[in-house]
């Protein structure tokens, strides 16, 4: 598998992490080493094997759809400097 610089840039963009040229090269080297070692998993026959998304089989825990008291607006906004009229002020979503 080819771990080139473009792949690292794509991954960093998806991860919302900016990398400079030195970082890109550093992570490329790390990923190459890690993923070459992890490629050993290709040896395992996983045909007809189910995934384990949890270590113990559990039934879905569902509850009645009843409204409960939740965090108030004032408490929710406690930790941000960027608020206006009871709302969070965030970055723009459309140009």
């Amino acid at each position: 598998m080819k771990i080139d610089l473009n792949l690292i840039i794509t991954i960093s963009n998806l991860s919302k992490i900016r990398l400079n040229q030195i970082d890109i090269e550093k992570y490329q080297k790390d990923f190459k080493e890690i993923l070459e070692a992890f490629a050993i998993l290709k040896e395992v026959n996983v045909r007809n094997v189910k995934s384990s998304f949890r270590p113990i089989e559990q039934k879905n825990v569902l509850r009645e759809d009843i409204t409960k008291k939740s965090l108030g607006q004032k408490a929710a906004l406690k930790f941000t400097k960027h608020k206006e009229k009871g709302f969070f002020v965030g970055p723009k979503t459309v140009e």
Partner: protein, 470 residues
């Protein structure tokens, strides 16, 4: 130790508020020398002590009256800065207690402080601390690491001369590893036994809250309090915990691959000596094999854990809580990237990106999904052995605590491979623990024991046997 202490607090023989002040002074000195705390809760602990004294006078003491608890910094404590060891959460004071804290407070345990960890639990040596945090030092050799990621918990447990229990957390070995390096007991219950509500997630299908103590007898009273179903955690177990076990002839399986890996000679020697002691006491110890776990466990663990981490940490973006910048005039992508780039440390970035890659279109089936299927095979491999054995044992770590300078020279892959012995029980979510065994070196060596799901009682029975051998 713990029971006597609580008895003395309840009888008034120990004046709690005076005791707490002394303990806080000691913790400050310990922290100055070893960097085990991200925060000491001085004011809150003294207030709690006074409140508990009042409850004792009224004849309403809790089960853990006055017990001093340290809390790994990835567990939320109401109104106390909880950062998971990362600068991106600096200043965040949760508006709620994690369920585990709520239960401890209800029984009058006192929260003494938040202990150091690798940022978000991303590390095996506690050297991957967040930007601006200090690396904790080994309690018996300051040039060495405590192990990670619950390094502060282990170091404090080892060095504290006061009765104390550490609340720690393991994803792939973060309780066992530092407890083994620092020479204390680390206990990790079945996945789902202790609610994860209020735990700052690393990997939700692997994270487990557990504890560290100096004595086996101190585990049960705390574990009873913190375990139990919690409707706030969708993976919380409903089965009652049973900590009593008196199996007359424990069947012990010795994992053969754990001695074939690159095990340091002193670790092998100590472990084999303990097996000899067990045999002399009449226990049957038979060699068993976990080939899939040992060959594929580390990549399986890292692909699943980083995949989950990459989504769990997407909520940290400079909005709502934690570190902020100025979002005005920027796009979402520009702003989130700016905050995350500035405040995540190197290893956090590496694991988020590795997990993002493993879940990317075109790679997801070959990496993440494949790993979840191999996890199934690993669980089955353990389950088959538990049809014949009650407990499986191995050394906890392949080496003794390395020097900080040695760890800094290791590549990320070399770092990951150090978890080879601990990823198995963590992937299977089975209860496991480490306990110190006789070491010819000045540095501790641990033995790790694993039992089948829900069998915490058997694990405690076995730990007591090992403790009595020393």
């Amino acid at each position: 130790m713990l029971k006597d202490f609580i008895k003395k607090v309840k009888s008034g023989e120990i004046k709690l508020h005076k005791h707490i002040k002394k303990v806080i002074d000691k913790c400050k000195l310990i922290d100055k020398e070893f960097s085990y705390f991200n925060l000491i809760c001085e004011k809150e602990a003294i207030e709690q002590a006074k409140e508990i004294e009042r409850k004792i006078k009224e004849g309403k003491p809790g089960k853990l009256s006055g017990l001093i608890i340290s809390v790994k910094d990835n567990i939320c404590v109401k109104d106390v800065e909880s950062t998971a060891g990362s600068r991106i959460l600096k200043g965040y004071k949760p508006l709620f207690d994690a369920t585990v804290i709520e239960k401890l407070r209800k029984e009058d345990a006192i929260i003494i402080g938040k202990t150091s960890c690798d940022a978000f639990g991303f590390g095996s040596f506690n050297t991957n601390v967040g930007i601006g945090f200090s690396i904790p030092k080994h309690p018996f050799d300051k040039e060495r690491v405590t192990g990670g990621s619950s390094g502060g918990s282990a170091g404090l447990t080892a060095i504290a001369d006061f009765v104390h229990v550490a609340i720690a957390e393991s994803t792939g070995g973060s309780i066992e590893n530092p407890a083994s390096f620092c020479g204390v007991i680390g206990f990790c219950p079945t996945y789902g036994r202790v609610s994860r509500f209020g735990l700052i997630s690393y990997a939700n299908s692997l994270d487990k809250i557990g504890l560290m103590t100096k004595k086996v007898e101190d585990i049960a009273p705390v574990l009873k309090v913190i375990s139990g179903f919690d409707e706030k955690d969708g993976t919380s177990l409903k089965q009652e915990i049973n900590l009593k076990s008196k199996i007359s002839e424990l069947r012990i399986g010795v994992i053969k691959e754990s001695l074939e890996e690159n095990i340091a000679p002193e670790v092998r020697k100590s472990f084999l000596k303990t097996i000899e002691k067990l045999r002399k006491k009449g226990f049957v110890c038979e060699e068993v094999s976990l080939p899939i776990t040992f060959k594929y466990g580390v990549p399986t663990y890292y692909l699943i854990s980083t995949s989950e981490a990459s989504t769990n940490l997407s909520c940290l973006s400079g909005l709502r809580y934690g570190q902020e910048g100025d979002p005005v005039g920027k796009t979402f992508s520009e702003y989130f990237s700016e905050i995350r780039t500035k405040h995540f440390n190197d290893e956090s970035k590496r694991r988020i990106m590795l997990g993002t890659f493993a879940r990317m279109a075109g790679y997801r089936d070959a990496f993440y999904i494949r790993a979840t299927k191999i996890r199934t095979k690993i669980i089955k491999e353990y389950k088959r052995l538990f049809e014949q054995y009650d407990v499986l044992i191995s050394p906890t770590m392949p080496i003794i605590a390395p020097k900080i300078s040695e760890v800094k020279k290791m590549s990320p892959l070399q770092n990951y491979m150090i978890d080879v012995l601990t990823v198995g029980p963590n992937l299977t979510g089975m209860p496991h623990a480490t306990i110190p065994i006789e070491s010819e070196k000045e540095l501790p060596i641990g033995l790790m024991a694993t039992t089948d799901h829900l069998n915490e009682g058997v694990l405690l029975q076995f730990l007591k046997i090992i403790e009595d051998l020393q």
